[in-house]
Symmetry: none
Subunit: 228 residues, 2 copies
DNA sequence: GCCGGCGTTTACACAATTTTTACGGCGTCT
DNA sequence: AGACGCCGTAAAAATTGTGTAAACGCCGGC
């Protein structure tokens, strides 16, 4: 349940763009796309990109210049795709500030592997910062670690899974059936009683006063809701 | 790239080694050289390398395994050189922890450009201490040395590998399967029982009260977690 | 060859978790 | 008021996971 990597694909050829976007999509990313340098710069202006995949042959700007301009204000990793195979082209792009250079045609697998390398090194949001805090409790979903007032707390597997689903949908009302499907699997979506038993356990471990829950709230007749 | 870039070249073919060393030398680096994995590991043990250039076809060890082992205690960037050109080879190496993959034959210019990229990103920091301390125990991953209350302690290979994986992911819950894959290889990821036996051995050697472990903790139904 | 260390395999008692079952309270609707 | 549905609580039963011990086979050193 890692946060999707924020990747920006800047490529003018619609065919290759689709190819790259599909590959990233299947790998679980939610890439944004741009067909021109101008459009790409606009998206990057938001400042929350983790990786740029850049075609050097853009219609409205030299790729090298694009990288150089980008490097003036951003250190986001850049993976270059290019049809140009000469060594001089590669050296120029890499020295301009690119982090990797892949020549067309390339395989999906290698592209994704190189994307993983760059995200591993620089993708600050890759798997970190999935920490939720509320009322003295600290839940680190990535580490499977829960603390209460600084002290480690142990949750069983089901307790943990249930909490994770509620946290991921903070503020939303989750029906019994929905929680059952998410935690116990769609097989026994009927046994809605389990949810109650495990919500109780979570309350006893997490809530300051388990009889008057402040965060794990009951929505009578519907289900439960987590309130931060 | 300032004066003293500490680069280690691990390559068994003397011809290519000379080629690479010459190129780096002319670029103003003072690389160290190794002809075998064992020799390379010794040099890296000093812990002050900024970049590793690694040939995958070493005589005494699979390059992939070398990278994986290295990644347990060091985050030094690795540039792979290889005669193997298939996509699968590249993916494996990159996912094992390599930062770039260059197929032979390659040009001097491109090699140096890619070296500059890696040094630009990661060069300055160098390698940090890889010594872990907890509850009277001192583990120096780089030197493969473990002390308990000042006295040397001997760990077998598997014990050591398991400890290294747990230390490298301190605080995180590691599933049985994950540990099996990391330590025993993906072949027998099913035999999850091994992990238990070896965790027990580690506890007996490292924990003050092996029956009440303070650092090597069980996550029932999931796996184990190391807590500093 | 014999020995000792090491990694592997098997077996079993015990502990933790999950599931099942049961019961009492509270509010609402008739 | 009484019946009903929904919820919280409790604790026993069933299941699963874990710690421990002991035995086996492999290999290198003596």
């Amino acid at each position: 349940m890692t946060a999707p990597a924020r990747i920006v694909v800047i490529e003018d050829d619609p065919q290759i763009r689709r190819f790259v976007l599909d590959a990233l999509g299947k790998a679980g990313c939610a890439p944004q796309e741009a067909g021109t340098a101008r459009q790409g710069r606009e998206i990057l202006g938001a400042g929350d990109a983790q990786l740029v995949i850049l075609d050097l042959g853009l219609p409205d700007m030299s790729g090298i210049d694009f990288i150089r301009a980008l490097r003036l204000w951003s250190s986001v990793p850049v993976l270059v795709l290019s049809a140009r195979v000469t060594e001089q082209d590669k050296i120029e792009a890499l020295d301009a500030g690119a982090d990797d250079y892949l020549t067309k045609p390339f395989g999906v697998g290698e592209l994704l592997a190189r994307v993983r390398v760059l995200l591993r090194r620089h993708g600050q949001g890759g798997d970190t910062e999935s920490v939720h805090r509320f009322g003295g409790v600290e839940v680190d979903l990535a580490r499977h670690a829960v603390k209460r007032d600084g002290a480690d707390l142990h949750l069983t597997q089901l307790e943990y899974r249930l909490l994770a689903v509620l946290l991921a949908n903070a503020g939303k009302v989750m029906t019994h059936r929905h929680l059952m499907r998410e935690v116990w699997g769609s097989g026994q979506a009927e046994q809605e009683h389990y949810v109650r038993i495990y919500v109780r356990r979570l309350r006893q471990k997490l809530e300051r006063d388990p009889t008057q829950p402040q965060h794990l709230l009951t929505e009578t007749g519907i289900g439960y809701r987590f309130q931060p």
